[in-house]
């Protein structure tokens, strides 16, 4: 089973059972520059990806500098979830 990760509008499929950190490295991104979000909640790097997670959103912590064309980039930080106040 695979888990879908979305980064700046681009989708990646990775195997379940990997840690978030390994999955980020696997798709060629720097773990230091990425936060993984699932259901509006942050995931730590050691979280094991499970197939029932379906989609993990990868958030670039450094704004800008995307290697992808602008059309693939999201414009705002929408959909973060409710958060904790």
């Amino acid at each position: 089973m695979t888990v879908k990760m979305v980064y700046r509008g681009k989708e990646y499929e990775v195997q379940e059972g990997m840690t978030v950190r390994d999955a980020i490295k696997k798709v060629g991104l720097q773990p230091e520059t990425i936060l993984a979000v699932h259901g509006g909640k942050l995931l730590t790097d050691d979280t094991i990806l499970k197939s029932d997670m379906k989609t993990i959103k990868l958030v670039a912590v450094i704004s800008g500098g995307s290697p992808f064309p602008r059309s693939q980039r999201t414009r705002t930080g929408e959909g973060w979830g409710e958060g904790v106040q």
Binding site: L35, T44, V61, I62, S63, R75, T76, G77, W80, V84
Partner: protein, 329 residues
Amino acid sequence: MKCRKCGATAAINMRQHKLALCEEHFLEWMPEQTQRFVEKYRMFAPEDKILVAVSGGKDSLSLWDILHRLGYRADGLYIGLGIDGGIGYSDESRRLSEKFAAERGLTLHVVEVEATYGATIPELAVISHRGRDKPCAVCGLNKRYIMNRAAHDGGYNVLATGHNLDDEAAVLMQNTLNWAGGYLVRQAPVLEANRPGLARKVKPLCRFYEREMAAYAIVCGIEYIYDECPHAVGSTTLYNKEILNQMEERRPGAKLQFYLSFLQAKEQGLFALQADDAELHACEKCGQPTSAPGPEGCSFCRLWDKVRAVKGAQLPLPARPTIEISDES
């Protein structure tokens, strides 16, 4: 991974501190640490009136949020640069800044460069032939001028910006590679208002990683502009950040140590001989502090005079910037 404080599932692991925290304790930790840095570097006191420069990005909005939570008197300043970049960058960043202020009942001052001075920043760069294809140089000059002037005119004694540790380390790296002594001596968490007309500038987030700032904005549910300015794409700063993050990946804490060792070396007098003692006086045209002599005025006035000469009577000549107040608490 578990939260060190309560044992619940952690939301973030900060490898440089060997510290994992859940959302609740992370939201406590960030303001606590900010307060610690404010005191350590003697940035400001509860009675000070603070102007926070906000761009609609994660750092500046989070800074404003933290200062508000800590109970400081902090208003915001948004500078409309007129940058579109195909994504309506400035319009969107203003909307998000205004939304943030309105939701919290905070006061946001807005200065639109085009409405106030007659041209957008990209137009200004083209007309003045500065910065080749990038308007970053004229943008920086305009932002520094407008921030200082807004702080002075608004009676704020502290100007706070949202620079995080990655920003500071990237600039430090560039200045070190260039051995730019003059810039190195001025890089600090606090720039004192040691000349007449200059606002005291502080960077309360200078010891937080960019990762922590993004995490804070997400956990708080702050809606921020995800894209950096379109003109920053491919910049040296972003390149330096990438290099520093490669070092951080191999050795957690590398960025923090680089910056803190620099501050320590400076405190020990390493850059004393580079101290900047340029004389400042009031610009004959606008009254803001400048080191430039003569009736032609400061670099800001000279830049806009050049633009006015090209665009002629189309441009207004304001005595003061137009400052709108979008929401009065």
